[in-house]
Amino acid sequence: MQRERNGNVTGDERVKVAALVSVGRHPVTGRPRRAEYDARAVEIGLSLATGGGLHLVHAGECSSESEAALRAYLGMGIAAVDMVQQPAGADIVPALESWLRELGPRLVLCGARGETGEASGLVPFLLAERLGWSLVCGLAEVESVDGDSMTVLQALPRGQRRRLKVRLPAVVTVDAAAQPARQSAFGPARRGELQRLDAPVTPDREAQGWTTAPARKRPKRLKIVKATSARDRFKAAAAKAEGGGGQVLTGVSAQAGAEAILKLLREEGVLR
């Protein structure tokens, strides 16, 4: 039997976890690489499913470049990655759906959005809807998995966390709040196996009508002063930034001042 290294995971049987991986794009050089968020998802998967409980799948074009990028996932200590072969411009969701139905994992992990193509982040939503599974976005940490539910920490903006109990099977997306992925080792990356699978192809007809271009720089928003007279325009241009009529408490006791401050803090809901 496999070693139970991870104390978080309870239950007698090991959890079957799948991770959807894609080929990323380095933001500066533009070279193919492992996608940042997908690698974080794999990292979480590795901490949950020790010793072969983690299955990786990639759906897309098979070229030497994408293979090199996918080998970076193998270098994280994974024996094999399933490559569902799909041509460019195909809708990969049906292929992934049938692969998932066949495998039947309890948990599917993936990055919040891809780094190439449309990168709309819709794949996990479509899969969860079609499979009828629960969906959680922005996972920070999996606390425990048992039987038919798991407890996770969800990342909120401003560094906050929320604890959720999610019914399994579930699709979970991972973004920058999760723990960074481990380095990819060269030897295991060479030794690992890329299993090519064939699947029926669904062309993405809608996307054929789109026009794509390298990202244009977005125009900076200008401060527009709508004034009817030159005097108003001058006043707006010369005005100092001010809060605009704040309340000033002068000559009050420390106690009264503290009460006023606490009232505002409670109104804003920052005091817990």
Binding site: E115, G209, A254, I261
Partner: protein
């Protein structure tokens, strides 16, 4: 009284015309209580008061009538007040041809800047249609504390309140949006593509309705939209779909009209959503581990702090992230990575509590994006007090001690009650 100023052009004309037979009588009538612009001094010299010459025109600018007849008229000040407050056009749409639905994030019950931009975009879509005037329908969840919904361009509001929609309940919310879809059949659904919930809710609804949304949209032209793809390195232009997830600054917020923001009843009898996710509540996060740039509540110290132990204690009791002005950092009381301002971190806190900071311009630049600023300072004339929404003019260490005492008192009561 009616505050419309009635002008009599004929008397004004007579007052300007010194040769008119009624000139003197009209001048006597118009004179009123205005100060005399010129008079005979005791030594027989004509004295003039230059300040009393002319009158304040409708734009608030002094106008001088060279005939010397028309001096300051009484209506001037009233007109000036009207000119200062810019008036927005009131718009009320009785029977809209269609709806454009916007689901706002409304963090803390108020519209965020991103929400306002998306509402501006919705306004463009509602007003720019060739087949009639559309209305913007705002869908909000939870208690709303926003008063300026009309100014943001909202015609109708559907708000879902109650325990069912509190916390993290995306499934319930999507069911509610499905109810709105059935009742009003909006032509477009707009969401802010933000991590506060809009991104997730929009994608969930799109999948539920079986529509393909346009994500990360930053520009909309006639029937076309442009959005970012491939991790922001590509622009994708396509036909405008029904569901749009828009980036910040996708459009200008509404600025010259006020809309009705009428509340309409939410759809009755929503189907019960399957609850597969249970919210177990927020987890206490160590505030010192939160990055200063994204902290929600910052307690910031400046040169006016004498009692540093009291300051740190207040920060831990209030659960605030600590910040500092440059002086406090330079003097070695706080680490460099806690510095707020132009040379330090530009913060985005919702509440910024500045203790003993006078508000150098570099510091004020750093807190430009904060919603509420509270200042505790001994100097009532300093710039931070002018910027602050609430300023307490008192000794900082005493006020902080009182705050700590009050908070701890309340916590103790709660513990005893539990």
């Amino acid at each position: 009284m009616n505050d419309i100023i009635r002008r009599d052009p004929r008397t004004e004309w007579i007052a300007r015309n010194r040769l008119h037979p009624e000139h003197d009588a009209v001048l006597a009538r118009m004179g009123g209580s205005a100060p005399a612009a010129q008079w005979m001094g005791p030594n027989g010299i004509i004295r003039r008061n230059p300040h009393a010459v002319g009158f304040i025109g409708p734009n608030g600018i002094r106008r001088i009538d060279r005939s010397g007849a028309q001096t300051a008229n009484a209506g001037g000040s009233a007109r000036r007040d009207a000119a200062v407050a810019p008036t927005r056009r009131q718009i009320r749409i009785e029977t809209p041809a269609f709806y454009v639905a916007v689901v706002a994030d409304m963090p803390g019950g108020r519209l965020s800047a991103h929400d306002r931009d998306v509402l501006g975009l919705a306004r463009q879509l509602a007003d720019g249609a060739s087949d009639g005037q559309g209305a913007v329908l705002l869908v909000s969840f939870g208690e709303s504390r926003e008063e300026g919904l009309g100014d943001a361009g909202v015609d109708r509001v559907v708000s879902f309140t109650g325990e069912r929609f509190e916390g993290y309940v995306p499934e319930q919310r999507v069911t509610a949006l499905g109810g709105v879809e059935r009742q009003h059949e909006p032509r477009h659904w707009l969401f802010p593509d933000s991590s506060l919930g809009g991104a997730e809710l929009g994608r969930r609804l799109a999948v539920r309705l079986g529509e393909r949304p346009a994500t990360q949209v930053w520009q909309i032209a006639i029937g076309e939209c442009t959005g970012r793809g491939a991790a922001g390195s590509m622009d994708i232009s396509r036909r405008l779909p029904r569901i749009v997830l828009a980036l910040p600054e996708c459009a200008e917020p509404v600025s010259d009209t006020t809309h009705a923001a009428e509340s309409i009843a939410p759809p009755a009898a929503l189907p019960q959503a399957l609850r597969r996710i249970e919210d177990l509540g927020a987890v206490a996060v160590d505030p010192s581990s939160v990055a200063l740039a994204e902290a929600e509540f910052i307690l910031s110290a400046g040169n006016g702090i004498r009692d540093w132990d009291g300051f740190h204690r207040a920060a831990s009791v209030l659960g605030a992230t600590e910040g500092a002005s440059r002086v406090a950092v330079d003097n070695g009381f706080m680490p460099r990575h806690r510095q707020v301002g132009a040379t330090g971190t530009w913060v985005t806190a919702r509440v910024y509590l500045a203790v003993g900071i006078s508000g150098a311009i570099q510091h004020l630049q750093g807190i430009q994006q904060c919603d509420k600023v509270i200042a505790i300072n001994t100097d009532p004339g300093c710039d931070m007090v002018k910027r602050a929404d609430l300023a307490v003019i008192a000794d900082s260490s005493e006020v902080l001690a009182a705050v700590v005492e009050l908070v701890e008192g309340v916590r103790k009561e709660q513990r005893n009650a539990a």
